[in-house]
């Protein structure tokens, strides 16, 4: 019985601890739910404690068996697993290393294809904004010469030339489970020296280039500055 109390409490502490890093896992909009959730867990732990110390009411007759509900050990251990894993493995947002089985897309999922992007001034657009702008525009050539100032993590694969990399972000519609990586190609002489998954700030101009039979806008970078990973690494629909 005490194990149940500990488990519930552990869940509570775990959730509280995470309030900073919790944005790596879930949506901004629902993060506030963790506080009431943790409170409820605390109350449940108290209820279990009362039951085990015999404080609580036990109905007579047929109902007697009903309150002595047995949760199997297997179930208990399984529920402890998220806490264990969460504590042991340092919280990491999805980054370049999560892309071992997926590719950075150059088109955004449907939920993000918003024409509101046109209202965002060029200097403030992020990776996703640019990609949506490209998708919604009839003529990519109109982007040549425009200034770009974006942040993202570095992603390169074997197909990239020594001066190419992708500045990428993970796009999340609801939660981490549906995260998709998108990226903008960047041309910069020092690309080879950049570490995979390093967060950078890229400033440059768009030029049209032909890559793999496609003519796409590529950022010709004037400056690539390494930065600290942001507190909120994922991009959400505007």
């Amino acid at each position: 019985m005490k194990v149940l109390v500990v488990t519930a409490l552990g869940g509570f502490l775990f959730l509280l601890m995470y309030n900073g890093k919790i944005l790596f896992y879930i949506n901004n909009r629902t993060a506030w739910l963790m506080i009431p959730a943790a409170t409820v867990l605390f109350v449940i732990a108290e209820a279990f404690r009362r039951r085990s110390t015999g404080d609580s009411y036990v109905p007579d007759g047929e109902c007697a068996g009903h309150t002595h509900h047995r949760t199997s050990w297997a179930a208990l251990l399984l529920v402890t697993l998220p806490v264990v894993l969460g504590v042991l493995i340092p919280p990491q947002p999805l980054g370049a290393l999560a892309m071992s089985n997926r590719k950075a897309l150059s088109s955004a999922p449907a939920a993000h294809g918003d024409s509101q992007v046109a209202l965002v001034p060029g200097g403030e657009r992020n990776v996703l904004d640019w990609i949506v702008a490209f998708q919604n525009s009839a003529d990519l050539a109109s982007f040549a010469g425009q200034q770009a100032h974006v942040t993202g993590f570095v992603y390169r694969d074997e197909m990239d030339a020594p001066d190419e990399f992708m500045v990428s972000r993970f796009i999340v519609t609801c939660c981490v489970a549906d995260a998709v990586a998108v990226g903008l190609p960047v041309r910069w002489p020092g690309a080879e020296t950049l570490a995979l998954d390093q967060w950078v700030e890229v400033s440059g101009r768009f030029e049209l280039e032909t890559m793999a039979d496609e003519t796409i806008p590529v950022i010709v970078a004037a400056e690539v500055v390494p930065i600290e990973p942001p507190g909120q690494p994922y991009l959400y629909p505007r």
Binding site: A64, T71, V79, P82, A98, A177
Partner: protein, 369 residues
């Protein structure tokens, strides 16, 4: 033990059910002997697994980075996605547990009984509509329906309720909205579930009750029904909370299994494979129907698991997962057997399966969702 309970006990012993948490308290106490044996070996097995995981990750942290970077980073991605699903789901799972805990202790179906219409079509419609008001997950719906039947609710109404309630209740609606927003998935889930629940209920309205109800039900066994606990308000409150806690732990461990499997698939399976299967109008539906059956995850949170497939699988298959899963899966099938005969449960599964398959296949082939 009363004669009623022995009969039921023998029936379950024959069929080898060991899931104590699905049976009623009285039976759980009598199955102690079997459980003790299974529990000891289960405990040992899981302790070893946990120990292995802990030591494994500690070791990995100290190995030279180049050696294990790819496998460790995959594991890290797996953990991130797994925890993402689990943490996002926890508040809603708690909400569902609280609801079922309170329904268990506070709600009495006597009042419901007075409003049951006689006409079968209306009764079935009402049964499905009742689902909107009861925030029960598939686990909670079975004991509740059992009590409803004992109060004399018609067969078709109970069936419509049992199929609809896990899907069209407020908490599930909220979680579906959180995961998918207002869209075809959201509305489709509600509409299709309602439609299937009512149709299957109507099919069963032509059957004779004695052919459908299990022997235990027909023997008129009384059990600890909801609302029969007495005590001061404070006592009832703590009783409700501990009942909620039990439900949370029960549903929680299925969530962990489901989230782990989903996160695993998402981390390990190459995107091209997922797309290959996921874009086929028939293959996507069949795969997700099968997965929905396998992962007996509470309907209040299964939307978050479905998200992992949102970008690679067809909308029709996601819909199939979200409609079929709450109605029929391994855990709920076992629970249905406590109310209905085996043959009736098989018909229930087949009917729901075929209808879901037909409609979602149509969606994939004809509607560009």
């Amino acid at each position: 033990m009363s004669g009623c309970q022995t009969k039921r006990l023998d029936k379950f012993r024959h069929q080898g059910y060991k899931e104590a948490s699905n049976l009623q308290g009285a039976l759980a106490v009598s199955l102690d002997a079997d459980l003790a044996k299974t529990n000891r070996s289960q405990r040992l097995g899981l302790a070893l697994l946990l120990l292995g995981l802990v030591s494994g990750s500690l070791v990995l942290c100290h190995l030279p980075p180049a050696v294990v970077v790819s496998s460790f980073s995959s594991f890290q991605t797996f953990v991130t996605v797994f925890l993402g699903i689990f943490i996002e789901a926890t508040p809603l799972l708690l909400a569902g547990s609280l609801a079922s805990g309170f329904i268990n202790i506070y709600v009495d179906e006597e009042t419901l009984h007075r409003f049951v219409p006689q006409q079968p079509v209306l009764a079935t419609l009402m049964g499905a509509a009742m689902g909107f008001f009861f925030p029960v997950c598939e686990c909670g719906v079975v004991p509740f329906t059992r009590s409803l039947y004992r109060k004399g609710v018609p067969l078709s109404m109970g069936i419509a309720f049992i199929l609809a309630a896990p899907v069209i209740n407020p908490i599930v609606i909220l979680s579906t909205y959180t995961a998918f927003g207002w869209g075809p998935v959201f509305w489709g889930r509600i509409a299709l579930s309602f439609f299937i629940a009512v149709s299957v209920g109507l099919v069963f309205s032509t059957a004779r009750p004695q052919d459908v109800f299990s022997e235990a039900m027909q023997a008129g066994c009384q059990s600890c029904g909801p609302g029969s606990a007495e005590g001061s308000p404070t006592q009832r409150f703590w009783l409700a909370m501990s009942s909620a806690g039990d439900d949370f732990l029960d549903m929680g461990h299925y969530l962990v299994i489901g989230a782990m499997l989903t996160a695993f698939i998402q981390t390990v399976a190459p995107q091209s494979t997922l797309l290959g299967v996921g874009q086929g109008p028939l293959s996507s539906v069949l795969v997700l129907l099968w997965l929905a059956f396998l992962l007996s995850v509470c309907s209040t949170v299964d939307a978050f698991l479905a998200l992992a497939f949102a970008n690679t699988f067809t909308t029709g298959s996601i819909l199939a997962f979200l409609v079929f899963g709450p109605m029929v899966d391994i855990k709920s099938s076992l629970m249905y057997l406590s109310i209905f005969k085996r043959r009736a449960v098989v018909y229930l599964i087949l009917l729901t399966f075929t209808m879901t398959l037909a409609v979602t296949l149509y969606v994939n082939l004809n509607l560009g969702w």
